[in-house]
Symmetry: C2
Subunit: 297 residues, 2 copies
């Protein structure tokens, strides 16, 4: 005779966790155990009704089914519930002098085109204000890092990325630079704008139901990679933008905001003569060496 199971709304959690005892992967066993514990706690705490459970099943199903090669609704869900930024924070602990990280977002592309320092990377300029960017890639002692790969990408003045204009759209407002002996990266582009995350799916319905907007404040993305240093994925935000205090994906940090000052027409820092006003961004990115990181627990 086998012994049977018998449990109630409290003891069932231990029953489920006990079924992971033969898991050959201790890390998976740990993650599943904590996940079951916390999900059961949530169900008990709110006394989830049968109808609410059915709605949740339907919501998750619709979230999966709207995903395709160009859309990842579960990442949006993770972003809008602050989980992506929490994972980012846990995985990017670094000395206080380091530039802070933030979410990568869905618009980076593997095929980012290389560019020459000083180039204009906005090859399809619209109505956005010209923007001169001049940043330094530095170590924590303030010394330039040579040979760092720096990917840059951002929206146009309407808040759209190149890839949102269709599968055949030209890649623009994105580039990959490599630092020389001075650790500098400098280029022309145009000022990005605030934009809504895609809000015509389940995540948009969730945001509306809880009384939230889908917008992100204007920002430039940077991804810095160089051997021997902790990679850095971050944004620099535009201080005058709306939604700095309510970014739909919780990506804003005070230390990542710049004025992007506007300048009257005249001679720009690189000697180019500007006939219209233009913006500038100067920034120092500081990366810890791998041996400067806190030890894992």
């Amino acid at each position: 005779m086998s012994s049977q199971r018998e449990f109630d709304e409290f003891s069932i959690t231990e029953e489920v966790i006990n079924t992971f005892r033969n898991c050959g992967n201790p890390r998976l066993q740990q993650v599943m155990t904590v996940l079951v514990q916390k999900l059961h706690e949530a169900v008990r705490e709110v006394e989830l009704t049968q109808a609410e459970w059915e709605f949740a099943i339907g919501f998750l199903t619709r979230t999966g089914q709207i995903c395709d090669e160009r859309r990842q609704e579960f990442i949006l869900l993770s972003d809008t519930l602050g989980i992506s930024m929490l994972v980012d924070a846990i995985n990017n602990r670094a000395p206080a002098e380091s530039t802070q990280s933030t979410v990568q977002g869905p618009f980076h592309v593997q095929a980012t085109p290389p560019a020459e320092l000083g180039a204009n990377i906005d090859t399809l300029p619209g109505g956005g204000e010209p923007m001169w960017v001049d940043v330094n890639i530095l170590d924590l002692e303030g010394r330039p890092i040579v040979g760092a790969e720096v990917d840059v990408w951002h929206s146009d003045e309407n808040g759209f990325y190149d890839v949102q204009y269709g599968a055949d759209a030209e890649l623009t407002r994105r580039a990959r630079f490599v630092t020389g002996g001075d650790g500098r990266v400098y280029f022309w582009s145009s000022l990005p704008a605030k934009y809504p995350i895609p809000d015509d799916g389940p995540v948009g319905q969730m945001l509306e139901a809880v009384g939230r907007h889908p917008f992100r404040p204007a920002h430039l993305h940077f991804w810095v990679r160089v051997a021997g240093y902790k990679p850095l994925v971050t944004h620099i935000f535009v201080r005058e933008s709306d939604y700095l205090d309510s970014d739909a994906v919780f990506g804003v940090k005070d230390s990542l905001i710049d004025d992007f000052p506007r300048h009257a027409p005249g001679t720009a820092p690189d000697g180019r003569v500007m006939e219209t006003p233009y913006r500038t961004l100067n920034w120092d990115f500081r990366l810890p060496r791998l041996d400067q990181l806190p030890k894992a627990a």
Copy 2:
């Protein structure tokens, strides 16, 4: 000037919860608040890595994308993590004398065919042993309930339900009865068998990865509905079946197991002369009136 956001891996949770403050639906606000709290606690407790987060996004996406009109993988996920049975327990609190509930499962159909008391509902008999079922629908005082609608459904001797044989398969081993003045439901069918839940998708991969099998012990489903009483969704399990102590969906309760005794060829309880051995199930289902239920908190 708007104030910006600034938070770390601990304070981000309060930031996210605070965005629900304008939710017009207090219940939704409560559910979302607890969900975010518990999911963030889980991520912090295991220190989820970026690679694990990416795996989780992919797992949820695949789980949604394998769903169609005949398959609901998120229900399987909920079932195999004990969440369905937890929701069932919370929503079916009843006096101790009541018959216990268990999960409905995915194989009930709206178009369950009506049947006459005494009929054989296995219209496509295979190799399964004949089974005589004779049950009473009673109130908590032991009095017969008249006019109760009783849906019955179960697998064949190979563990498959009719609907698993294709979209055009004939509905069988399922029926809807209505109790008369004696509260009885009685019919012939054939003994069901253990079976695996569908395990060729993400949930099957999860079960394998954590070292679990996908099987459910043999059982009959009952769904009893009658005005003025709490509806009852439950199974009766076959005591000799494997997996009573390890049902993949945690549906077994000690009080829902019967011997299904085997009888030698001869005259069956309804007078039919059996030339082969046969099984019997006798059972009393006890339903509380709505006014006998515990009050909601």
